[in-house]
Symmetry: C2
């Protein structure tokens, strides 16, 4: 096996052969491809942190229920567009048990992954009011959500929230919403890529400003339960997953099955639409929809048109997993705590060897250890850090492609095997020896 640093010229040639100017500007999939090529050329195993992919098996009770549903013949029957009754009911309970929010089961609609959830939300929210046709993204964020807007021809506004935490967020949001052309505010918490979490004060600010300007809050809960500083796993008992739904009038929550239940392969999630948003109707929506309320439009208009609903068998799978959580038999937080342990080890190794964590605090509180973290080497841009790290057998993505104004990299811990953790520490140490001034 080769040792680090790898031969620079040879690595550079592979990058050039992939027609990539600099890895620090490359997309996730481009980085993946280059690292595959480098690993092959050097017969050398990287510590791979570029992909945000869950690395655990799906919760077993879910797979078992999905298999049983297939044996029962659901694969032949079109799923109802609005979802199976059982999944709607378990989602309603789940939202009450773990978010402490009361909603009717009609508000809960399965989607073909949160990817479809955001696509459907963006598409419907911007077609309700002729004047409100833009989306405001609180960045950094998941790049594909901006790609969804680009394809749909939806204009976006964005800002990096790094300098606007706490009460400062109110004025910043006001400065956009006051223009009157924003239909919805989009953010994820825990945040992809920076892993910060909005606290309750900030979530209430988002809701207040949105309510004032009659704007829809679109909250991406892709990393539900993964702020490991708080154990939200006990049904009906505080603490709960923090959410703007406690205060917002018009909101959509996106709950993904991919991360918390490791159900990424089957493309399953649910969206939760607030009753006030569900009942909202406008004259302008008739241009796009045969339905006369937002709720009916997103279900029978948008989601029907996107894929005729969500795969039938996996709805049974997700129902079973949620039921286990609701009844206290499965602890979803314990099921994914391995990510926390890995993140702590890796962040410690980095900090001990001269690196710094970029998004390091929620106001005055250190951020959680979890699925992602951000880091950088002092005196370098994020792009430079990534380009150098590759010679040391470590891959990640640059924050440049996530809407962040900060210099640094995003790392995802999930695909790093346990036996690579000491290897990671050694490589980071060598990097620091070679680069410290």
């Amino acid at each position: 096996m080769n040792t680090v640093p790898l031969n620079r010229e040879q690595v550079n040639k592979i990058v050039a052969d992939n027609k990539i100017e600099s890895l620090g500007k490359a997309s996730i999939r481009e980085v993946k491809k280059v690292i595959n090529d480098v690993e092959k050329a050097f017969d050398f195993k990287f510590v791979r942190m570029e992909m945000g992919i869950p690395g655990l098996p799906t919760v077993k009770v879910g797979v078992d229920a999905q298999i049983q549903a297939l044996k029962d013949g659901v694969s032949a029957i079109y799923p109802d567009i609005y979802g199976t009754l059982e999944l709607k009911q378990e989602t309603k309970r789940f939202v009450k048990n773990f978010l402490d929010v009361d909603i009717p089961e009609d508000s809960c609609v399965p989607v073909t992954g949160s990817m479809q959830g955001s696509f459907a939300s963006f598409m419907t929210v911007t077609r309700m009011d002729e004047k409100k046709n833009k989306l405001l993204f609180i960045d950094p964020g998941f790049p594909v959500q901006k790609q969804q807007c680009r394809i749909l021809g939806i204009e976006t506004e964005t800002f990096d929230v790094y300098q606007y935490r706490g009460e400062k967020l109110r004025e910043k949001l006001e400065s956009y919403l006051v223009k009157g052309d924003i239909a919805g505010i989009v953010y994820s918490s825990p945040n992809n890529p920076a892993w910060f979490c909005f606290n309750e004060e900030e979530l209430q600010i988002i809701a207040d400003v949105a309510n004032k300007h009659d704007v829809v809050v679109i909250e991406d809960l892709a990393y539900f339960g993964m702020d490991f500083r708080k154990d939200i796993s006990k049904p009906g008992i505080a603490p709960f997953q923090p959410t703007a739904a406690k205060w917002a009038k018009k909101y959509i929550l996106m709950i993904s099955g991919s991360k918390v239940f490791s159900y990424a392969g089957e493309r399953i999630g649910v969206i939760v639409i607030s009753p006030e948003l569900y009942a909202w109707h406008t004259d302008y929506m008739k241009k796009y929809f045969a339905q006369d309320t937002f709720g009916r439009a997103i279900v029978y208009g948008t989601i029907y048109a996107l894929s005729s609903g969500t795969s039938h068998s996996v709805q049974y799978g997700l129902t079973a997993v949620m039921k286990e959580c609701n009844e206290g038999r499965y602890n979803m937080v314990e099921g994914i705590r391995e990510y926390e342990r890995k993140a702590k080890f890796m962040k410690d190794a980095l900090v001990e060897n001269g690196f710094e964590i970029v998004y390091d605090k929620d106001m005055n509180v250190p951020i959680a250890d979890g699925f992602y973290f951000t880091f950088n080497y002092p005196g370098m841009t994020g792009e430079q850090t990534l380009n150098e790290l590759v010679y040391y057998g470590i891959s990640a993505i640059s924050l440049d492609i996530t809407g962040s104004d900060q210099q640094g990299l995003r790392a995802c811990v999930s695909l790093v095997p346990n036996d690579m953790l000491p290897v990671f520490a050694e490589r980071v140490k060598q990097f620091n020896i070679d680069h410290k001034k």
Copy 2:
């Protein structure tokens, strides 16, 4: 049990309670809801023909393979956006074996049902050339495809092909394409709702006109293999499923798993993109896509944004079914011939009792018996026939909502149980006794 005709006032009240002016103008789902209510109020079982839903179990080898894939853990792993290698390879073979068309495996991309296939196709085809932003539908057709365009803000042109079969089709298509604003021509063959099939001469005309004006042919093969006049089930042996792909340069074929393999519940289909279309690039597409060819744009741009690809386990299921067909172990035509037998019985009963088949011929050849047929009672509009038939315990949908200019109804045979066939014949007979002049 009640006898026909049912009490008219009571039926009329249920229709009015559903806030429906006339069943002849109602959507499929509205008809379904009213008939549910009528069945319940009268404790009376209808011959239900309004929904186009497969009524057979999924091909077993597919379900077995899907279950095995779940046991092997695929549910945890994001599917590749462009589909599993095995499904791409089997689709390539399937297209060669049953359509007699050669394409590379890259051209074959799984989708979350043909619903996603058409959405993705419409969205991408109309974002390639600023001037070509409309779609031309050869009607009658599947109403939801127009709904997809409406939501996307895509303008459509349509005409009822009833009067334009054969060589007349060329001039009619020319009259639209000559304007230069059509990006794609959309049609299904076998046709939903009318069940006519374009013959090879007509498919070549569509391809010729499209080639002349550099327009994409979007062929919906939802009812693959279901023109039972020709047995296309022998791999590599004529006759083949007729397709414009034999002559068109830029085309997309949509092959649904829902009907021919009764796999509707899992939302699985494949689209086949011609190599010339796949490689097509324009400057204008940069407005919407980061990719520089149509093929990469529809896969990594559109399909990624719509749902991050297609559920993983069912890709294994469809692969297994296609492999069985490709290797001659499963006869897909025999698997669904029950629809033919039912259609023949029901059409005979109607014609014997004074009804007429509306779309009755492909040029000079009687149309096939299959999943759908169209019919009407002489001297009545389609709306009147439907409103009257409901008193006789028979439901269908009006052709008015399908883009057809003809008077009549669409019937789907799949949900009619065998033991209801004699009941259907009796009710039709009674209808004729009560209405003939």
